[in-house]
């Protein structure tokens, strides 16, 4: 079972990203379960989205405590509490313009930086970073494939379909060499 946590601030699209990633895995015939918990959450407050992916039906209904991978929409959220939800050797993909070696990590966690803001702007997406981050995350994770996530984004984007897909593809392309390094 692959367990993923997506961490962001309310309004950044972390929940949407979780749903899109689930859809991409589902389109490949995988069982998925994704859920967010919120209540008092407002624009700007921390929110998490959890995703399980498996080749057999998923039954447990509890939080993810040892994620294999974490996608973080905002480097200011990276602290020991959130990083502690990911496993010792987890992949941590962070939306940031900072160098990777300046970012916090725990134990053997592998940090990969994606400059989602710059990629989004270059593809006329303004401040909407989730398509770029999904592209980068899938490249670093090695699954689901570029075509699965790009197609899911194209089907789901309410506007700027081509721009969303272009941002996803650009980030995916940038991240492959990084992945070989880690």
């Amino acid at each position: 079972m692959l367990e993923i946590v997506i961490l962001g601030r309310g309004g950044q699209g972390a929940q949407t990203a979780g749903n899109l990633l689930a859809q991409a895995f589902f389109s490949q015939g995988k069982y998925v379960q994704t859920f967010s918990t919120y209540g008092g959450a407002r624009r700007g407050t921390p929110v998490t989205s959890s995703l399980r992916v498996s080749s057999s039906p998923i039954r447990q209904r509890c939080n993810i405590t040892q994620a294999s991978a974490l996608l973080c929409f905002d480097d200011s959220l990276l602290d020991a509490g959130y990083l502690g939800q990911a496993a010792e050797n987890a992949l941590i993909v962070v939306n940031t313009a900072k160098p990777e070696d300046t970012l916090m990590r725990l134990g053997g966690q592998r940090i990969v930086a994606v400059d989602g803001k710059t990629i989004a702007r270059r593809n006329k997406m303004g401040k909407v970073v989730n398509s770029a981050l999904l592209g980068g995350f899938c490249a670093a994770l090695g699954q689901p494939g570029l075509e699965s996530i790009a197609q899911t984004i194209e089907n789901s984007a309410p506007a700027k379909k081509q721009e969303n897909v272009a941002a996803c593809r650009e980030a995916f392309g940038l991240l492959e060499p990084v992945l070989e390094r880690v």
Partner: protein, 388 residues
Amino acid sequence: MNAPAFADDMQLLNGNHAVAWGVRLAGPDVAPLYPITPQTPILEKLIEFQSSGAFQAELLTPESEHSAMAAAIAASATGARVFTATSSQGLLLMHELLHFASGARTPIVMFNVNRTPASPWGFWPDQIDSLSQRDTGWVQLYSENPQDSLDSVIQAFRIAEATNLPVMINHDAFYVSHSVEPVSLPSPEAVTDFLPRQARDIQLGDGSGRSLGAPIDQASWNRTRRDLDEAMKTVEQFAIDASQVWEKQTGRASAPLEFYRYHDAEIVFVTMGSMCGTAREAIDRLRTSGIKAGLLKVRLFRPLPNEALRDALRGAQHAIVLDRNYSPGTGGVLHQELRSVLFGTQDPPRLHGYLAGVGGLSVPEERLEALATEVRDTVPAANSLWLE
């Protein structure tokens, strides 16, 4: 039911949208609804269905849940098929009219998303909102996952209309209501076959000038409760029938009580709602290490299947009751109910009550796995214990 196997007719839906699909397929005539977190996606999806022309019910949006239930009772008394949905504070605000609905024998189907009641304010999965309505005369079902919720909505209309009793289905906030996963959608034809439109006793609006709920004398009021009691006694069999017919049509059973790796189990978990899924994982781990564990899922909580529970628990050495609720002064509601069921039986299992996940705390399968080992050498406490 267990999580469903992959099928071509599957879509990714969250639990609340699965409920809305069940409602759309069941085709109620009237749906009075008031929004509340975390129920609101049910209302939003039904409005989306209605505006696209796929859902024909008259949607009423009154000023409170109390008024929504009043509208539901009145509409149901005219013979209409009626659906409503709520959660926590909304359900509690309806409380007065929940008694009214069952007394008036209106077969309303209501979906409740289990959420912590105030105070303090919270949004988290906890079943005390609906369990504290256990004496209001509503049939209560508890759902484990989005597929179970969809199937239960459709079955609930059949049970309600067969018994003239209102039915409340419950699923846990977030772990089910907002969990997006593959859900199989039955065909509209299958649902129409399963839920034929039948002429009902019309209590209002037939032009005869009868009144509904008018004052009556003591003996007549007493008679209404005896009638209610008779109707309640038929629910379990109607629920079994509904499950069997549904299984023939869809391949998915959802019986009043469900069992997982149970026949030779020595340590059994007894619980309701989303905790059942986590318990299944824990049981598989325990079986791998040679411990004979099993699950008894209580899907029908009102009326409680007393005899079936006694039969099921005969032979188990330990029963671990997991209550995601806390009744102050008592402990876990299901624990209390099972003590009552088992009282006076020969050789009952040792009954260990745990308050597990109260307030929406996450209970991982590893904790349940450890718990099964812990109870083996333990004399059960009289009260429910807080799971640490």
